[in-house]
């Protein structure tokens, strides 16, 4: 059977049968790859850990009838562990790989390099996870041919600045063509959107939280409009933990203390069943 070799980013995995997984990857030269990794769910698997989401691998597969089969995988970038250690980065990385999965089928070296760069940045904590995600979304859409405009009017080309944003029209538009009720963006938000698109991180990192929140909303709407379906991951982006005050841990009472002492006195062996 013909074999091939490629560099690839693992986008997602699905369990298959007893111990196998279907791994969906974005290859540098082959575009989207779906391949079976045999036995990787067993703890004795020698390459299971390399085929987890967000890992960048050097891959060898042989072509199957419907799915390819992974023969070897060597890790080139182990971004999984640092990303998963930060829950906000993990949720952002999920949205990034879900977008890459939806956006790319054909080989695109630009999309591949952008994806690797975004995951590397999240793993290193170079910028806030939401900023990295927003910048990735804008740039990935731009590479796909849906570059938004944040300066001149997207319809007439009239020089900006304009404040009305219409995702369906491709960015900010002049008042004369803006539909009634079109959301209005502040100058700071427009500056942040432009910075995220161009990769001007000095401006992006300095943006205030309300400005970031408005920009994130605009980018999410723009992305989902062009992808034609909602991204599941965007609903689960980390917004911090708010614990219900009624569930706060109460200090131990005397009754609980005595119960603990009694529990400690019980023989420790649990009979085999």
């Amino acid at each position: 059977m013909p074999t091939y070799r490629d560099e690839a980013v693992v986008l997602r995995t699905h369990s298959l049968g007893e111990a196998d997984r279907i791994v969906t990857m974005l290859g540098r030269r082959r575009g989207k790859i779906r391949a079976v990794a045999k036995g990787v769910r067993r703890t004795t698997s020698r390459f299971g850990s390399r085929l987890e989401p967000f890992m960048v691998v050097d891959l060898q597969c042989y072509e199957g009838r419907s799915l390819d089969v992974i023969q070897q995988a060597e890790s080139l970038g182990a971004y999984g562990a640092p990303i998963v250690a930060d829950y906000a980065a993990f949720t952002a990385a999920n949205a990034i790989v879900e977008t890459a999965d939806r956006l790319t089928d054909e080989a695109s070296q630009q999309q591949y390099l952008l994806l690797v760069g975004a995951l590397r940045s999240l793993a290193r904590g170079e910028h806030g996870p939401s900023l990295t995600l927003d910048s990735y979304l804008l740039r990935a859409l731009s590479i796909a041919g849906w570059a938004p405009t944040f300066g001149d009017c997207a319809v007439t080309g009239e020089p900006g600045p304009h404040t009305a944003f219409v995702a369906q029209l491709g960015g900010v538009v002049a008042d004369a063509v803006a539909p009634p009720g079109a959301p209005r963006l502040t100058p700071d938000t427009i500056a942040l959107l432009g910075a995220l698109l161009m990769g001007d991180w000095a401006v992006a990192d300095a943006a205030a939280p309300p400005v970031r929140a408005q920009a994130s909303g605009v980018i999410a709407a723009y992305t989902q409009w062009h992808l034609e379906r909602g991204l599941k991951s965007l609903n689960h982006l980390d917004k911090g933990i708010k614990l219900d005050p009624s569930l706060r841990r109460r200090p131990r009472t005397e009754a609980v203390e005595s119960a603990l002492i009694e529990a400690a006195a019980v023989p420790t062996a649990v009979p085999a069943t």
């Binding site: 182990a78 930060d86 999920n94 599941k232 982006l237 841990r249 603990l260 019980v266």
Partner: protein, 199 residues
Amino acid sequence: MYEGIVQELIDELGRLPGIGPKSAQRIAFHIVQTRGFDVTRLGELLMEVHDKVRFCSLCGNVADEDRCGICRDPRRSRTSICVVEEPKDVAAIERTHEYRGLYHVLGGALSPIDGIGPDDLRIRELVQRLADGEVQEVILATDPNMTGEATATYLSRLLRTMDVPVSRLASGLPVGGDLEYADEVTLGRAFEGRRLVEH
């Protein structure tokens, strides 16, 4: 394709997880052809399991009463809770005979790409169990894969706000293996989790 109910049986068996068309056909013909195969017993058990088995109202493990056998057992320590993803993980840990506390089954792991967030797991129930201050340790035993690790990260951050000690199962080299065959991620974890040797 077979005729009538044989094909229906093959189709029904084929809907079970992990059973493909060939396996379904093999099981169906085993049932049809083997003399002495107790079909009645199998049928009754399937009905009984479907009717009786439920999930423990406290920990989420499979149970045939309101509480599972582990939660009902007075010899189990009430001061520690081991958090796992699925009921089958409880069985795996029980086989070690190393743990004598209680369990909490989350019902899965956080996976935003599949639309599974904190509200879709039994995390609120876990927090409620910790509120009375009796539990002195929470052991996170989620799977050592990306979603399991993310779930452990989320829970440790959540439980930190409740002032309860949290530990995570160690991961590293498998017993009986050769060091040279370990992959770099597992070996790296083993180095991170190394411990002092007592003299």
